[in-house]
């Protein structure tokens, strides 16, 4: 069964460093998402991406964040200058359709900022 994959599974970085989190969505999916979950807290939406552009972003997704789909298979989330409060589990998801479409989630990348 096709699945969403994410790399790395765990990333440790120092405050102020740039990180890139990578995701390979399911191949025929058209909608892509990033969510995060700070330890012990609820899952929060970051950004959605469709037709090679951002379709929605939350207030968390400030100028330090960017997304890219560089080659038609990967979907990346970049954090330009990490802060301690960026430490969280980051989930990538993809879906075939928008309205009502089931979002399939990757296993997540645990980002630890020290």
């Amino acid at each position: 069964e096709p699945e969403v994959t994410q790399t790395p599974s765990h990333q440790v970085t120092q405050m102020g460093q740039e990180v890139i989190l990578r995701c390979v969505p399911i191949s025929n999916h058209l909608y892509f998402y990033w969510y995060r979950q700070i330890l012990g807290q609820k899952v929060e939406f970051l950004v959605s991406f469709y037709n090679n552009e951002i379709s929605e972003k939350s207030e968390i997704f400030d100028d330090q964040f960017s997304v890219e789909r560089p080659d038609g298979s990967n979907f990346t989330l970049k954090i330009r200058s990490t802060k301690l409060e960026d430490s969280a589990m980051y989930f990538c998801a993809s879906s075939m359709r928008g309205a009502g479409g089931e979002q399939y989630f990757g296993p997540g990348t645990r980002l630890t900022v020290t």
């Binding site: 899952v43 959605s48 379709s55 939350s58 979002q103 989630f105």
Partner: protein, 112 residues
């Protein structure tokens, strides 16, 4: 704006007993509702979803949920839980740009 409230942060229940996990939502757009499960140290897996039609929705692992528009609820139920159901359960509503808006989660604790 859409929001989701999960009224219980933890629900302890004995094995083989029934369970209900509560979820209330608010939404100003078409209502698409989801329940996801997160097993310890794993990702998020869809249990079931409500898009339209029958208000009783059946999902995987014997779970079902009932959409109640007048009470703006989407409670999750299972008639008999097993130790393997130990997990955190998240209710979510779909926003106007297809993003999921999540509740805080309910930890289901199964007592032997």
């Amino acid at each position: 704006a859409q929001s989701v409230t999960q009224l219980d942060s933890q629900v302890p229940v004995f094995e083989e007993a029934p369970v209900e996990l509560r979820c209330n939502y608010s939404s100003s757009v078409s209502v698409y509702l989801f329940w996801y499960v997160q097993y310890p140290n794993q990702g998020l897996q869809l249990l079931l979803k409500y898009l339209s039609g029958s208000t009783l929705v059946k999902g995987i692992n014997g779970f079902e949920a009932e959409f109640n528009k007048s009470q703006t609820s989407f409670h999750l139920r299972k008639p008999s839980v097993h130790i393997s159901d130990t997990a955190e359960y998240f209710c979510a509503v779909m926003g106007s740009n297809y993003q999921l808006i999540w509740g805080a989660g309910t930890k289901l604790i199964i007592k032997p």
